[in-house]
Symmetry: C2
Subunit: 769 residues, 2 copies
C-alpha cells in the first residue's frame, strides 16, 4: 500500500496573495477523468492508441489566438494575440535565446531543488502538472507553472524533477515544439512512443526505494492523487501533499503573473431561464435523495451555471475562479471579492448565497495556517476572518455532515482537508491543538475514502450539477438557437470572403484566415470571444487532429487541397462549435469518397432515433459504419456535450467508442456530431454540427417510453462539390437538400450582398442520382 | 457480512448411486451469469424490463417435443414425446387430479421439513432451484427436483420452503401453468410483477433474524452462492451448504429417475478439426500465461469440445455429465465409466486423459465422506478408490497449485471443497483428522475468494475454453456450412409442404407442424436431434417470445395471420438455428411495415463491417435503428454464439443491448442475427440467420488492423410478399435479391419436384422500386 503524507507549510513571504494552491492536472488526473462521467465528454476526442497522453478535447486546442477579455471596453469584446506576444506575456521571452533559456532553466531547477531540502518540505522529487485546481480545460496565466518551470509552452505536459534529473512528458503533437523549447537540463519523454515509461514508472525506476514524492494537492483530483500514491507505492515511495505553498510559485516569485481579477457578471435570467433559488432548491433535493447534507462544487462551469453568473478569468470559457458549497439551508461562494460588483452581490444575496474569499475553502480547515498567514499582516483582521470562515468544511465535519464529493474533479487538498476535519472531530478536541497536530500529521488514505474511523462522512458521486446543467431549459435552447444563427451568418460572410480571396489568389495563411474569421464573428451581436482556439488546417495540416498553426510556421491556404476549419464562439446567449471542410479547386476522387463517407456518418447520426435511456456510445457506430465499410476510421469520439453560453466541452454525456460513459442522452442535451477522416501527410476531413436532443412524436412508442432524436442547431452549408452523389442513397441526398433548404431559410434573412449570393449558390439541391 | 456454513452429511441409504450433488441454477446464479462473458451469450434474449426472471435463452425453450436419444438404435435418431407423456415420465401424473396432487405435495413438504429438523441438517429454510451442477441450459430428468417437489413443470422457477411456508417464483410466461399445477400448499410468486419480492427479500421478510438457510452447493455457482449469502446476511441469516445429500432426493427416494447413462462417442477429427493433444496444449499455454497450474472445467459443452467427445445425456445438446481437470502434464475426466466405450477410452488414452468417476471430483476432497460411503459396501474397493482418487483437488491444494476457476460457472461445492483443501494444507495435517474437522467446519467466505489465509490459491477468470471453443476452425466451419445446407433443404421441403397443406385448408396445429418439421429434418444425413424446442407460434402466439405450444392448448395455423417458426437441429457436423415468419394469406399493411423494418435491421447487421476488437454490443443498434425510427423495438438481444455440433447457445460473444459483455467478435465466431418485433395479442415477427465472422479484404485498413464482416450460413428464403419495397433502399433490395439468388444456387441441387419449384418461386428477385 502507498503512503500518503500531508505536510502544511507556512507560506513564503514571496507568495502572491492569490492562493498558492492552484492549477494543474497530472496524467493520472486525466486518466481518472476519462472514467468520470462528469467530464467524460471532455475525452470524446481522445486517441484510440496508447499514445493518448490525455483526452483530446483537453489538449486539442492550444492557443493559436490567445483571446483575452478587453477590460477597458467592458463589452466583452476580445483582441487576438499572436503566439509570440503570448510567450512574451508569459515571461518566457525575457531571455532571448536557447543559451539564456538554458541557464534560466538551470537556475529554476537549482532553486526548486534547494526547496526539496528544506526540513519542512523534505522531498526527493516534485511533480508539476499543467492544469488548475478546478480541472479546467483553459487556465489562467498565473497557473502555467509547468510552462514557467520547463520553458515548454505546449498545453499538455507534466514535469517531474528529482534531485538530479528533470523530465518532461508530452505527446506526439508537441514533440518538435518541446525539443526546441526545453533546455539540455530536461529530458523529453515522448509519451506514447514505445518503451517510454509513465511518470510513476519513471519515478519508480530512477529513485531509490522509499523516497518522498511531493505534489501540490490542489493540482491533483483526489482520485488522481490516490492513483499516483498507489503506483509509486510499488517502490515504497511516499506521496507527500505539500500544502501551503506551490514550490514553483516560490521560485517564480514576483515575476509570477497576477491571478485574474476580471469582473464577474450576472447571466441574465432571459438566457439562464431558471433562477438561482430554483436551481439551489433542485440541488438540495438531490442532496436529500442521497442522504447528504452538503456538496462541494469545484468545476468552474458548474458554479457559473448554478449561480447564473459568468466571468472571464480564463480564455474561451466564461467562468471565474471559485468554489461553491451548497448546504441544506445555506450556500457559500468562495470567490475573490474584487470580482463581485454591486449588481452581482445583490443577485447573490437575493438567492441567499453568502460570499467568502476564494482561499477560505481550504483555510477553513487549515485554521492554524490561516492564523499564521494573516497574523503577519493584521491580527485583528485575521481573527475577524477566522470567525467568519471557521464554519464551512470544518463545521460540516464537526456536525457530522455527510458531504457529497466528486472525487474525480474535487482536488486532493479539499478532500484531505475535509478528512482531517473529520479526524479532528473524532479526536474530540476541535480548536487549540488541532492545527499543530494537523501540520505534522501523516494522512494515510487507504481503502474507501468515504470511511474514516468507521464513520461514513462523505458520499463520492458525480457532481449533482453536471447532469442538471447538461439538460438545457427553454431559454437556454432559445439562446443557443439564436446565437447559432448569428454565428452562421458570420460564417457565411467569412466563407464568401475566403472563396473570393482564394479565387483572386490572395496569399493567406491558416492563421490569417482564423483571424479574419474572428473579425466576422466580432461583428455579431452578443459576441464575447472564441470558444476555443481555431483549428485552421490546410492539406496535410488538416490531418493533424490537434493541429496548432503558428504565425511563424503555418501554411498558406490554396486551391490544391482540402481546408479544414474547426471554430466556435461564445455569445452572450450561447456557445457554438462548427467544423467544415472545403476544397477551393478540384478534389481528388479519393478525397470525395472519403468526404462522402464522413458525411454519410454525419447524416446517420443526425437522423438517429433512439429510446430514452440510451447512452451516447450506442450511437457512435452509426457515424463510423460508412467509413468502416471501406476500412477507414477516425481516432476520436463523435460527439461531446456543449454548454449554453458556457464551456464548449462539457459532460456528462458524450458520443464515443469509449464504452465507459453510461450517461443516457436526454431531451434538452446538446451534443456535437463530428465524424472525420484523416489521411496522414495528406488531408483531413471533419464535418461538425451541434445537435439538440429532442423528444419525437412517433406513430408508436413501444414499451410506453419516449423516443428521442436530434434537432440541428448549426446552419452552414456543406460543400456540395465534395459529395460523390453516386455513393449516396436517395434518403441521404434528401437529407443534404433539406438541410441546405433550411440553411437558406434561416440564415439568408441575416445576410445581404455577396454573402447572401454565396449562401444561395451553396444551398442549391444536389441532383438526384 | 454474511455467514457461509458448510455441513457434510453421510448419504442416506435411499440415495441413488449417482451423485446426489447435482443440478440447479438459482436466480442469483442467473443474475451473475448475465455478467459472465462465458455465458453472457445465453442472456442475449433477456427482457429489458425488470420482470426478467432469468436470461431468455435459458428459459425461452421449454420442451415442446422432448427429444431423447434412442439408445436402441444407437444411431442418434430421436423420437418425440408429447407433453403428457413427458409428465408421466417425470412421475408427476402418478396421481391424477388436483386433490391427489395437493396431498402428494403436502406429503413432500412434510417430508422435506422433517429433514430440516435433523440435527446434522438443522436448517430453517431450503432453496430448490431448477438447473444442474453445470449451469446447463437443458438438463437430465433426474435433476428436475424443483418440478418434483412443487408439481410445477415449467422450465424456469425457484422453490423456497420454510418450516411453515412454501413459495415458488416463476415469470410471466408460466403464471397460468403454475396456477394450475401448484397445490394450495404453495404460494405463487409472480416474478416481475410490482411488489413481488426476490427469494432473498422474501426470506429476509418471513424468517426471524438469524436463521439458517440451506442450499445444495452443487446447484449454485460460487458467485451465486456468494450473492445469496450476502443478500440474506441483511437479516443475519446464515447460508448453509448442505453437502452429501440433496434433501429433495431424500424424499424422492427410489422413484427418482436414474441419471442418464447414454454412451458417449468420439467427435470425428474431420468435424472437430483439431486433435485433443493440440487443444490441451493450448489450454496449458493459457495456464502458463496466467500463472496457473490447473483448471477445473465444469461446463459440459467445454468438456465435450476440449476432448472431441459428444454424448446425449440431455436433450438438444450433445453433451455428457462430466468434469475435467487439466493440469500442466495431466488431464483427468470425471465421468461415469459406463458411458465410455472402448473407442472412446482409446481416444482419451491417446490424448493422455485419465478417467475417474464423476463423483470423484468432489470426493477427492471429501475423503471422509467417500470412505464412509464405500465402507458400507466394500471396504477394499473403497480403499482402492481412495488411493486412485485422493489426488486431484486435494493434491493440487496440497502442492500449492494455483487453480483457474470460473466462479460464475463452477459450482459452490467444488470451490468450497478446494478451499477446504487449501485450509487443510495450511493446518499441515492432511489425513486422519481432517475429515472430522471438515465435516463440522464453518467455511466463512469473506472478501476475495482467491485468498485464503493470505495465500493466493486460485485465479478467478472466465474459462480458457470458452473463447477457444467460440472461434471455429476450418473443419468446424465446413461442417457448419454443410449441415446448414442440408437443414435448408429440409426447411424448403417443409415450407413447400406446409404451404400446400394450408392452401388445401388442412387443419394443422402449431405442434403438428413442429412435428412434421422434425420429420423432414430426420431425413437429412447426420441428423441427431433438435437443437432446442421448436417455437411454433401462429398469430398472437407469435408475439409471446417464449411461446410454448402444447398439444392440448395450441392454435391451428391458418391464413389469417403471421406464423413464426424458430427451430434448429443438431447434426453430426453442425448445429442450426433459424427463424422465419410467413403469412399464408394477405398480411396487413401494418404487418408488412413491421416485417420490413425487422428485415432492414437484419440486413443492416448482416452487412456490417467493423474493426477487430469490436464487442458485439456495438453492432446491436444497427439491427434496431429501423424499428426505432417508428418507435418500435424488441425486448431481447440480437445475436448469440452457436456451437459447432454443440450447444445452440454459447458464449462468450453476443450481440445485445446489454453493455456488460466486452468480448470482441473474432474471425471464426458464429453468431445469430435475429431482430424481431412483437405486437402483444396480435402477431410476432423474427428473422434469424446464423452468421460466420470473417476477415474482409478491403481497399483500406486504417490503423493497420483487420476489418471484419459476416458470411451467411443460413440459406432459406425470406417471404417476399411480406416486404414493403417502398420502404427499402435500393441496396436493401439488392441484398434480398442477392441472398435469394445464393439460396437458389446453394440449395436447389439438394431438392427436386415440388420443393424445388417452391424454392424457385420463393427466390425470384423483388422488383426494384
Amino acid at each position: 500500500m502507498g503512503r500518503f503524507c500531508l505536510i502544511s507549510l507556512p507560506p513564503s513571504p514571496t507568495t502572491s496573495s492569490f492562493p498558492t494552491y492552484s492549477l494543474g492536472c497530472s496524467l493520472m488526473a486525466i486518466e481518472a477523468a476519462r472514467l468520470s462521467p462528469s467530464i467524460a465528454a471532455a475525452a470524446f476526442l481522445a486517441s484510440r492508441p496508447p499514445l493518448a497522453l490525455r483526452p483530446f478535447s483537453l489538449r486539442r486546442r492550444f492557443p493559436l489566438l490567445r483571446v483575452l477579455a478587453n477590460s477597458s471596453g467592458g463589452d466583452g469584446r476580445v483582441v487576438a494575440l499572436s503566439s509570440s506576444e503570448l510567450r512574451k506575456r508569459r515571461g518566457l521571452s525575457s531571455s532571448s535565446g536557447a543559451a539564456d533559456s538554458a541557464s534560466d532553466g538551470d537556475e529554476k531547477l537549482r532553486s526548486l531543488r534547494r526547496l526539496f531540502a528544506r526540513p519542512d518540505v523534505a522531498i526527493d522529487a516534485y511533480i508539476v502538472p499543467s492544469q488548475d485546481a478546478h480541472q479546467s480545460e483553459f487556465i489562467a496565466e498565473c497557473f502555467t507553472r509547468r510552462a514557467y518551470l520547463t520553458g515548454f509552452t505546449g498545453s499538455a505536459g507534466t514535469a517531474v524533477v528529482t534531485k538530479n534529473k528533470a523530465a518532461l512528458w508530452t505527446d506526439g503533437r508537441y514533440f518538435l515544439q518541446a525539443e526546441k523549447e526545453l533546455s539540455h537540463h530536461w529530458t523529453l519523454m515522448r509519451s506514447g512512443n514505445h518503451g517510454v515509461p509513465t511518470t510513476s514508472e519513471w519515478l519508480n525506476d530512477v529513485l531509490p526505494s522509499g523516497c518522498r514524492v511531493g505534489i501540490d494537492p490542489f493540482l491533483f483530483s483526489f482520485d488522481a492523487a490516490e492513483e499516483l500514491k498507489d503506483s509509486i507505492a510499488n517502490k515504497n515511495h511516499e506521496l507527500v501533499l505539500v500544502q501551503g505553498m506551490n514550490l514553483v510559485d516560490e521560485i517564480w516569485g514576483d515575476a509570477r503573473p497576477n491571478p485574474p481579477k476580471e469582473p464577474t457578471r450576472v447571466h441574465d435570467i432571459k438566457y439562464a431561464g431558471i433562477d438561482v433559488p430554483s436551481k439551489l432548491s433542485f440541488i438540495r433535493s438531490q442532496l436529500a435523495e442521497n442522504g447528504c447534507d452538503a456538496v462541494v462544487i469545484s468545476m468552474l462551469d458548474e458554479v457559473a451555471w448554478l449561480l447564473n453568473m459568468r466571468g472571464s478569468d480564463v480564455p474561451h470559457s466564461p467562468v471565474f475562479y471559485s468554489y461553491l458549497i451548497v448546504e441544506v439551508s445555506t450556500a457559500t461562494l468562495f470567490v475573490d471579492n474584487s470580482k463581485v460588483s454591486k449588481d452581482v452581490l445583490e443577485h447573490l444575496e437575493q438567492a441567499g448565497v453568502k460570499l467568502k474569499p476564494y482561499e477560505a475553502i481550504i483555510s477553513e480547515v487549515e485554521r492554524k495556517k490561516i492564523l499564521r498567514q494573516f497574523n503577519r499582516e493584521n491580527i485583528i483582521f485575521a481573527m475577524l476572518l477566522l470567525i467568519k470562515t471557521l464554519i464551512a468544511l470544518s463545521r460540516l465535519a464537526e456536525k457530522g455532515a455527510k458531504l457529497w464529493l466528486d472525487s474525480s474533479s474535487v482536488n486532493a487538498a479539499i478532500i484531505t482537508a475535509f478528512k482531517s476535519s473529520c479526524d479532528m472531530k473524532k479526536k474530540g478536541k476541535a480548536g487549540e491543538e488541532v492545527g499543530e497536530k494537523e501540520a505534522s500529521s501523516n494522512d494515510r488514505i487507504t481503502g474507501d475514502p468515504s470511511v474514516h474511523n468507521g464513520v461514513i462522512s462523505a458520499v463520492y458521486n458525480v457532481s449533482p450539477v453536471a447532469l442538471a446543467k447538461s439538460v438545457k431549459n427553454d431559454a437556454e435552447i432559445e439562446g443557443m438557437k439564436n446565437s447559432h444563427l448569428r454565428d452562421a451568418a458570420a460564417l457565411a460572410e467569412f466563407w464568401c470572403w475566403l472563396e473570393e480571396e482564394i479565387c483572386k489568389s490572395v496569399p493567406l495563411t491558416e492563421v490569417q484566415i482564423a483571424e479574419k474569421l474572428l473579425e466576422f464573428r466580432q461583428k455579431q451581436d452578443g459576441f464575447i470571444e472564441t470558444s476555443f482556439d481555431t483549428i485552421s488546417g490546410y492539406g496535410a495540416n488538416g490531418a493533424i487532429i490537434h493541429y496548432r498553426p503558428t504565425p511563424e510556421s503555418c501554411s498558406s491556404v490554396g486551391s490544391d487541397n482540402l481546408f479544414l476549419l474547426d471554430s466556435g464562439a461564445q455569445y452572450i446567449d450561447g456557445t457554438t462549435d462548427i467544423t467544415r471542410t472545403v476544397h477551393f479547386g478540384e478534389a481528388s476522387p479519393r478525397q470525395k469518397e472519403c468526404f462522402t463517407r464522413v458525411l454519410q456518418g454525419h447524416i446517420a447520426l443526425d437522423q438517429a432515433v433512439f429510446p430514452e435511456r440510451t447512452p451516447g456510445f450506442v450511437l457512435d457506430v452509426l457515424a463510423r459504419s460508412s467509413l468502416w465499410k471501406i476500412g477507414l476510421d477516425y481516432r476520436h469520439g463523435t460527439g461531446h456535450g456543449v454548454g449554453a453560453a458556457l464551456n464548449v466541452h462539457e459532460g456528462p454525456q458524450s458520443i464515443s467508442y469509449r464504452y465507459g460513459n453510461l450517461t443516457a442522452l436526454q431531451k434538452g442535451m446538446i451534443v456535437s456530431n463530428e465524424p472525420g477522416y484523416y489521411e496522414d501527410n495528406s488531408f483531413g476531413i471533419r464535418i461538425e454540427n451541434l445537435l439538440l436532443v429532442k423528444e419525437l412524436n412517433l406513430a408508436n412508442s413501444f414499451g410506453g417510453i419516449s423516443y428521442l432524436g436530434f434537432e440541428k442547431l448549426t446552419f452552414v452549408p456543406i460543400q456540395s462539390k465534395l459529395i460523390e452523389s453516386s455513393l449516396m442513397s436517395p434518403s441521404e441526398i434528401n437529407w443534404v437538400n433539406d438541410y441546405h433548404e433550411e440553411v437558406w431559410e434561416k440564415v439568408s434573412p441575416l445576410l445581404s450582398g455577396h454573402s447572401r449570393d454565396w449562401l444561395w449558390k451553396n444551398t442549391r439541391p444536389l441532383l438526384d442520382v
